[in-house]
Amino acid sequence: MKPKKKWKLSSILLILLFVVIGIFALFPLFAITLGSLKPSTEIMRYGLNLKLQADLLSLDNYSYLFNGETDYFIWYKNSIIITIASTLSCLLLTSMVGYGLAVYDFKLKNVVFGLVLIVMMIPVEIIMLPLYKLTMSLGLMDTLVGAFLPFVVAPIPIFFFRQYASGLPRDLLDAARVDGCTEIGIFFRVMMPLMTPAFSSMAILQALGSWNNFLWPLIVLRSSENLTLPIGLSTLLTPYGNNYDVLIAGSVMAIFPVLLLYIFFQRYFIEGMTAGGVKG
């Protein structure tokens, strides 16, 4: 007979611990949301603070986002386009590579995997300048494609898909071959559907990375109408006075899509991480 869950002391302590952690996690976001509701002169004078000051609260800052003075919504749209395009193309290509490395035995297998690891290690800053020149020669400067193309075949998802695919049952492969499937067909029709949890987790990871990506788009994107959200927001920080009104409100609004994405897909994300198992 299972005992009813009792309110043990340890349970209470645990909950308390996590409540404290939760406060720590959410507190800065609360502070900034509060800050976005106050005029920026307050921030200038008193810094970010927690005083509720009901008389000062208003949605004015958010109205600046909508009034067209800045290209905020164009930045938003660009970020969405780039995130979708880069995530989908990344998933397609990296799953292929990871799968290939996991399922087949060929001479260069370990070498290629080693190369993947090496690419994972190098911060983009090291190769930034030659990459910039290359992007120019390819005519991709100031384009949305240029902002993500060099990194679309990303090493971390390759790594992850490889681990995941290694855990898939081989007999399915053989059965499909007997059925007369081409190797490519096996991948698309048989294995890919099996890797859905992996796709979900990598989708979230990539989308998150793409949405928040800063350094490379900073280099590639020029005209205001091509900027992504993080870059656009950072242009509001100038040595001649920070446009905190739009900056803070804009930052708060930037968090929302990702928040929604996470809330809806977190189950798949966890499934993907779990089932895939980043096994040894």
């Binding site: 200038m44 810094g47 910039y132 020149k133 120019m136 400067m141 005209s223 040595p239 006075g241």
Partner: protein
């Protein structure tokens, strides 16, 4: 069902790639005048400058109906602009026709073979009306590469209210020694420090160094690093002494452009601050409570009769060698910054002290505007008073490194950590090639 999902994803992928690819780089978008006329692309790091250029482009088109230009001006954050420009010039692609370059970054663009065009052909006709030192700072090997907005004469802003409370008359302060004494009085009588000092910026230190007689300042006349000059050590020692005695404090927020400082000063935190003329806009925009309480006076000098001012800061606007219409670009630039109309507009719109001295006593320039409302009339009289005492500074290829050292280590070590000035300067100098 699964196939349907895959299919839908495929469609999304293709359409988003299409949308992404569709965003071509330059189109007619963003160009003024409906895209008609010679297309000129301009970069700047200050939105006020952008608006100014756009305004001048309109005026140009009014006065030159046969020679129209279509301007696309973009503002980038300060660091970002200089990095982008440098990379574009380096790689030979992607640079605009015209760009602002701030003075402390200008040295980077003079290294090797400058990828920017000499502007002497448009400068020479107006040369005698322009404060010469403002042209020398952007020159290399006898050719001038940049045109400035302003003189940036360093002056001192006193909070009259606090000074009156302490019973000190700003006009009595003629030398830095006087200043120190006055500071002691102000501190005694009101408990308020006489001034704040830039720690992460150079506007407190550099003017004092530039005031030293002779042609050397942070760089020697020939461009060599001059940080270990004994007279410079003395200047730094002077500042450190002020801090030690409480007469000066490191600026809240570490420089005079931070929110912390604006709030502090606005609440009467210090009795004065010395900054260039272009700092007026910060008072009007960020320190509203001080309206009517601030007076502008010439800075104290190191000795009676020594130079009281120096030209500080500056934006040297350049024309790049990637411009497709360099002649039109140069002419427009000259119109915007060298002409009489341009200089008058520079004062009216930007609140800068323009580089043409023949404009300083024109009536248009002494009209009422937000600056006279704040500081009182006769702002230019202070400028005219020091007209012949505005020292230039030496700008060269080492300037960015020196500037960086000042802003990062030298001031912090001596004014916050109280390190010995001689040591700090020598260490910094040894690291600059």
């Amino acid at each position: 069902m699964k196939k349907g999902l895959l299919g839908m994803l495929a469609i999304i992928l293709v359409s988003s790639m299409f949308l992404a690819g569709c965003n071509k780089g330059s189109s007619d978008k963003g160009y003024s005048n409906g895209g008609k006329g010679t297309k000129i692309e301009l970069w700047t790091f200050n939105e006020l400058h952008e608006q100014y250029y756009e305004h001048m482009a309109e005026k140009w088109n009014e006065e030159n109906p046969d020679d129209q230009i279509s301007l696309k001006a973009t503002t980038y954050p300060y660091e970002d602009l200089h990095n982008k420009l440098l990379v574009a010039l380096q790689s030979g692609k992607g640079a605009p026709d015209i760009s602002d370059v701030e003075i402390s970054k200008f040295g980077n663009f003079l290294k090797g073979e400058p990828q920017i065009l000499p502007l002497d052909d448009v400068i020479d006709p107006e040369k005698e009306n322009i404060v010469q030192s403002r042209l020398d700072i952007y020159a290399k090997d006898g050719k001038t590469y940049g045109i400035d907005f302003h003189v940036g004469a360093a002056v001192i802003y006193y909070n009259k209210e606090i000074m009156d409370k302490a019973g000190v008359n700003p006009d009595d302060i003629k030398t830095w020694a006087d200043y120190k004494e006055a500071g002691k009085t102000v501190l005694e009588k009101t408990g308020i420090p006489m001034t704040t000092l830039d720690i992460e910026d150079q506007w407190s230190f550099w003017p004092q160094v530039a005031q030293l007689e002779g042609k050397d300042d942070l760089l020697k006349e020939n461009g060599e690093v001059n940080l270990t000059d004994p007279r410079i050590v003395e200047v730094l020692q002077y500042e450190q002494d002020l801090v030690k005695e409480g007469i000066a404090i490191p600026s809240p927020g570490n420089d005079h452009h931070s929110e912390e400082y604006y709030g502090f000063m606005n609440n009467g935190g210090a009795a004065s601050v010395w900054m260039p003329m272009w700092y007026m806009g910060r008072f009007t925009d960020y320190m509203p409570d001080l309206k009517g309480k601030i007076v502008i006076k010439p800075m104290p000098a190191w000795s009676e009769g020594a130079p009281r001012s120096a030209g500080m800061g500056g934006t040297g606007t350049v024309v790049t060698n990637q411009s497709k219409d360099p002649d039109v670009a140069k002419k427009f630039l000259a119109y915007a910054k060298l002409s009489k109309e341009g200089n008058i507009e520079i004062w009216k719109q930007l609140g800068f002290d323009p580089i043409r001295s023949d404009v300083w006593d024109l009536p248009e320039v002494n009209e009422e505007n937000k600056f006279t409302e704040y500081f009182g009339p006769n702002i230019f009289s202070t400028l005219l008073e020091v007209k012949d005492e505005i020292e230039g500074v030496n700008i060269g290829e080492r300037t960015p490194d020196v500037s960086n050292a000042v802003k990062t280590t030298i001031l912090f070590q001596t004014l916050v950590e109280m390190k010995d000035p001689k040591q700090a300067l020598e260490e910094a100098a040894s690291q600059i090639k």
